[in-house]
């Protein structure tokens, strides 16, 4: 049976239905099934297992590293906040050292301390030593004091 094709959708459907009942369609349907080999399946199983293992390791690493990274970030933030705060507070304190003035004060203190030791031994304060040095009044020694020193 030969005829020209009329390619409307309805006609095409009709032709396909006729073909579906034909030997051709049945033969294709009943072709023997291809079988994969055991070696093929074994190789595929190995590849899938390898991918699964890789994924598990990646997940384990992310479980370990994510908290550590999070803590590091938090710590860095905290440090940054406190450093900024300290830097702000440092700016309001009057520095003790003003160039060489601090050094001169130290030297003066040392000399005063040394002179107080020279005058009246340990324990005598620099203020008392200065008072006694600058004073024109005679020393108020008792006789007992003189005799005990000798």
């Amino acid at each position: 049976m030969r005829e020209k094709i009329n390619l409307t959708d309805a006609r095409l459907d009709q032709l396909l239905d006729e073909q579906s009942c034909s030997v051709v369609s049945q033969v294709v349907k009943e072709l023997p099934e291809e079988q994969v080999s055991l070696v093929w399946r074994s190789e595929l199983n190995q590849k899938i297992a390898a991918m699964a293992g890789k994924r598990r390791r990646a997940m384990l690493l992310s479980w370990m590293w994510k908290p550590a990274v999070g803590m590091a970030v938090c710590t860095a933030l905290v440090v940054a906040v406190f450093v900024r705060r300290d830097a702000a507070s440092v700016g309001t304190v009057t520095p003790l050292v003003q160039d060489a003035g601090f050094e001169r004060a130290l030297v003066r203190e040392h000399l005063a301390s040394a002179s107080s030791i020279d005058v009246a031994a340990e324990g005598f304060t620099p203020a008392e030593s200065a008072d006694s040095k600058g004073s024109a009044a005679p020393l108020d020694w008792d006789r007992e004091d003189i005799t005990s020193a000798l």
Binding site: E3, L12, Q19, C21, V23, V28, L31, E34, W40
Partner: protein, 208 residues
């Protein structure tokens, strides 16, 4: 409701259910190896059969089939069930065959269906043929395989997906990314091509 129309059950128990299949697919989405193994069991031979008839080299077909399931495993989380899992799987297989042909610097040939003005004529199957009387001998199988090998990949794809896998036209259209009308025309041409090639085997039945 079947998740995979026309596809073998993923769970072969007597008390399988759509819910059980859905649960299995969910496990596959989570890359559960055991669940994916069952999935492979259900489709390995069918996918291999399809690719084996699309790719002439047997070893290459086996490698491509493995690649199909590897990609399926890697991308199962992206399967959103808008189409059946069979459609999704065969789409992967079809795309890999296309890529392979492209690498081999061949293109899937397009064979057009001529319009009504054409002088082309096609032989239509004789309704007197009785498929039940046909014995599918090894010789006939070999002839069919050879005939399918001579048709274009685009026609062969549709023929295999429809006549062998019982895939509906709409699903085939999604797999090969063409309109349903194109699927039907390709199917018609594929069957006509096969019939023409098998005339020497079919004509004895046709003349009875």
């Amino acid at each position: 409701m079947e998740l995979c129309i026309g596809a073998p059950r993923l769970i072969s128990d007597d008390h399988h259910s759509a819910a059980a299949e859905a649960a299995l697919l969910d496990r596959c989405r989570r890359q559960d190896v055991e669940a994916f193994g069952k999935f492979v069991d259900a489709y390995q031979n069918r996918v291999f059969g399809f690719i084996r008839r699309m790719v002439p080299n047997g070893e290459e077909a086996a490698d491509l089939t493995q690649e199909v399931f590897i990609r399926a495993y890697q991308n199962f989380a992206r399967f959103d069930a808008r189409s059946s899992v069979r459609t999704w799987l065969f789409r992967i297989a079809y795309n890999l065959c296309v890529d392979r042909a492209r690498k081999a610097k061949r293109s899937f040939e397009e064979v057009g269906l001529h319009t009504g003005e054409s002088e082309e004529q096609y032989e239509f199957p004789d309704n007197r043929w009785e498929p039940e009387r046909l014995i599918l001998t090894e010789e006939l199988c070999a002839a069919v395989e050879t005939a399918m090998g001579t048709m274009s990949e685009k026609l062969r794809t549709v023929l295999l997906l429809h006549d062998r896998e019982d895939t509906p036209y709409e699903e085939i259209a999604k797999i090969v990314d063409v309109p349903v009308g194109t699927v039907k025309s390709r199917l018609f041409l594929a069957r006509a091509h096969l019939q023409k090639a098998l005339n020497e085997y079919l004509q004895p039945e046709a003349t009875t």
